[in-house]
């Protein structure tokens, strides 16, 4: 089995009569790398991600290798794809461990034993460095810790396609970098497809191998960070005057001068 490929063809998504995404096609997204979805507010980033997760009805085709995902049931979808929503649960009297466990126990497609579920849940928490929080209540955690707990609920399912909606929005700079590194590692190690919505353009440029820049439900740019993030695309899509430069360490930096 080679690296998985996710291809999107003629995808239209809307809520009721309002179309958010119309007839969108993307060259195949490959496993083993991180693909970042960026774009201004209301560009359709979250909608596209939710459509890939099978959470909104969509017309067109979303294929994972030879499987047409749009034809699958909720349970069938969940075997391949896991989605981490941006909104975190409020006031929930569950421990971090129980929440992670519920990701495995609530819909056991491939019947794993309870002991195995316990091991896998703790392994996921370990991976994110929050194993010591296992028995703390979700409602006792800081925003950042809660986001890490939420990420644990996603990676514990070991999906082929991992969809993350702004997983670093509540994290301090240290945790932001740790989570992005970890996500990149997971993509490389397991050869999985990671699609991640990010607000921070520089962070996307640094950790993603591919950038998809969305504007009002259409693709404004698609390619390597160098190709997709340029002063011209930023001016067009974000309406800002910006410089894109390589710093002394060779990483891409976006310096925004002013809004236009």
């Amino acid at each position: 089995m080679g690296t998985p490929q996710l291809s999107i063809d003629g995808l239209s998504v809307g809520y009721g009569r309002r179309k958010i995404i119309e007839n969108l096609s993307l060259p195949a997204i490959s496993g083993g790398a991180v693909t970042a979805l960026i774009g201004p507010n209301a560009a359709g980033k979250t909608t596209l991600l939710r459509a890939l997760a099978g959470l909104v009805p969509a017309k067109g085709s979303i294929r994972l290798d030879d499987t047409e995902l749009t034809a699958l049931s909720v349970a069938g979808h969940a075997r391949h794809v896991t989605y981490m929503p941006q909104a975190l649960p409020q006031r929930v009297a569950l421990t971090v461990f129980e929440a992670t466990l519920s990701a495995l126990m609530s819909a056991r497609a491939d019947a794993i034993s309870t002991a195995e579920a316990h091991e896998r849940a703790l392994h996921a928490l370990d991976r994110l460095g929050i194993a010591d929080l296992a028995l703390r209540g979700l409602d006792e955690l800081s925003g950042g810790q809660r986001q890490l707990a939420s990420l644990a609920q996603s990676i514990v399912r070991e999906p082929t396609v991992l969809l993350l909606d702004e997983p670093t929005s509540a994290l301090d700079i240290h945790h932001q970098l740790r989570v992005m590194q970890l996500v990149a590692e997971l993509a490389r190690e397991r050869g999985i497809i990671v699609v991640i919505v990010l607000h921070d353009i520089a962070q996307a440029a640094r950790y993603a191998q591919r950038i998809v820049l969305l504007e009002q439900g259409t693709i404004a740019a698609d390619g390597s960070p160098d190709a997709a993030i340029t002063p011209a695309t930023l001016a067009r899509v974000y309406k800002v005057e910006a410089r894109v430069e390589r710093c002394s360490h060779g990483t891409l930096q976006v310096i925004v001068d002013r809004a236009v």
Binding site: R50, A53, G54, L55, S73, V74, A75, G76, H77, A78, R79, V81, T82, Y83, M84, P85, A87, L88, P89, R91, V92, A93, L94, T95, F97, E98, A99, S102, A103, M105, S106, A107, A109, A115, E116, H118, E119, L122, H123, D126, A131, A134, L135, G137, S150, Q153, S154, R157
Partner: protein
């Protein structure tokens, strides 16, 4: 995995947590038994507790009046209190989870209003159903309307998409509609029928019989395994609807069947004892404070907490005014509120 797990420490800590929760649930069960014994032992005719216990264990040892008191009055009332408490609490716990709303109770969506309207039709307009014995006519009407209101709600929500807010809004609309209809029937009712209707809607255990106990017991017995089977899915739903769906849970299906269970439990309870508020709201909160929201413990914990409160309320309803049996629906709130507030305060201190 035969090698020693690197997570032994966390796993044993979790095992301790689970053990503690099992103990708490068992403790609630024991408390329920004690409360029930007290309930059986309380009443206008002073039977000593020892006589009550021996009378239950060997009915033949009792003289005839004591046997009638214990077996035809005290025992059915006490069992009905426990069953209704458990059923309403389970309904409330499921409701709060599937509607993601800590203020939800079985009556939020109009179940009791619909039941009251059914009762009003039977009492005031003298309507009757074919093939139903006369003393079952009123509960049958109440049940039918309560159950139908939830089905109507489901149908409307289905037409408009199954969002939580839609369900709650339709539910509120139903509450107001049925309340208006009840008021309309009350307006044309005779003095006597009006009095009966008001008394009915207060909720009382005095309508308990062994046959009704059997029906409610059967309904509860059928519903509970399905609730427990859904417990992991409901736990996952607490993490958010998108989250649960991305775990592979069909939330619409989960919600549909849960509402069906809720309506069966609430409609049967209301039909037999009338409106008993508060239990369905408060018992889940108590269980949540005691055992958290892992629904494997939360659902049984809620049921037992509901049974305990209802039993204590039944004791209180017999003792507050000596010699009189107050409608238990009045007492549940009176006894439940201080208990509830005490719990909230004790939690604040810990935080």
């Amino acid at each position: 995995m035969s090698e020693l797990s690197p997570h032994t420490q966390q796993l044993s800590a979790y095992a301790r947590l689970v053990r503690r929760r099992v103990l708490i649930v068992a403790g609630l069960g024991a408390l329920m038994l004690v409360a029930m014994l007290f309930d059986i032992a309380t009443g206008p005719s002073n039977l000593p507790l020892a006589d009550v216990i021996s009378g239950i264990l060997s009915p033949s040892s009792l003289d005839a009046p004591a046997r009638v008191i214990i077996w035809e009055v005290r025992l059915p009332y006490a069992l009905m209190a426990v069953l209704v408490g458990a059923a309403l609490a389970l309904a409330g716990a499921e409701m709060q989870t599937i509607l993601n709303n800590p203020l939800a109770s079985p009556f939020t969506l109009g179940v009791s209003s619909a039941a009251a309207f059914g009762a009003a039709l039977a009492l005031v307009l003298g309507m009757s159903l074919p093939f139903i014995p006369t003393d079952w006519n009123l509960p049958a009407f109440a049940f039918l309307f309560a159950f139908a209101s939830v089905l109507l709600l489901q149908a409307m929500a289905r037409l408009r998409g199954t969002g939580v807010e839609t369900l709650v809004l339709f539910g509120i609309a139903l509450v107001f509609t049925f309340n208006a209809l009840v008021a309309l029937v009350q307006y044309v009712a005779s003095q006597e029928a009006l009095q009966q209707l008001v008394f009915w809607s207060m909720g009382s255990l005095a309508r308990s019989t062994w046959a009704k106990l059997g029906v409610l017991g059967l309904v509860t017995l059928i519903v509970v395994p399905f609730s427990l089977k859904a417990s992991w899915r409901m736990t996952a739903l607490r993490l958010g609807e998108d989250r649960a769906r991305s775990f592979g849970i069909s939330v619409a299906r989960l919600r549909f069947f849960s509402l069906l269970r809720v309506s069966l439990l609430a409609a049967t309870s209301v039909a037999f004892v009338g409106t008993i508020g508060f239990i369905g709201l408060v018992a889940p909160h108590i269980a949540r404070l005691l055992v958290g929201e892992d629904h494997r413990f939360f659902l049984p914990g809620s049921m037992l907490a509901g049974a305990v409160i209802m039993s204590l309320a039944s004791v209180a309803s017999k003792t507050i005014v000596p010699g009189a049996l107050l409608p238990v629906g009045i007492v549940t709130s009176l006894i439940g509120v201080p208990f509830f507030i005490a719990l909230i305060f004790s939690r604040r201190e810990r935080l």
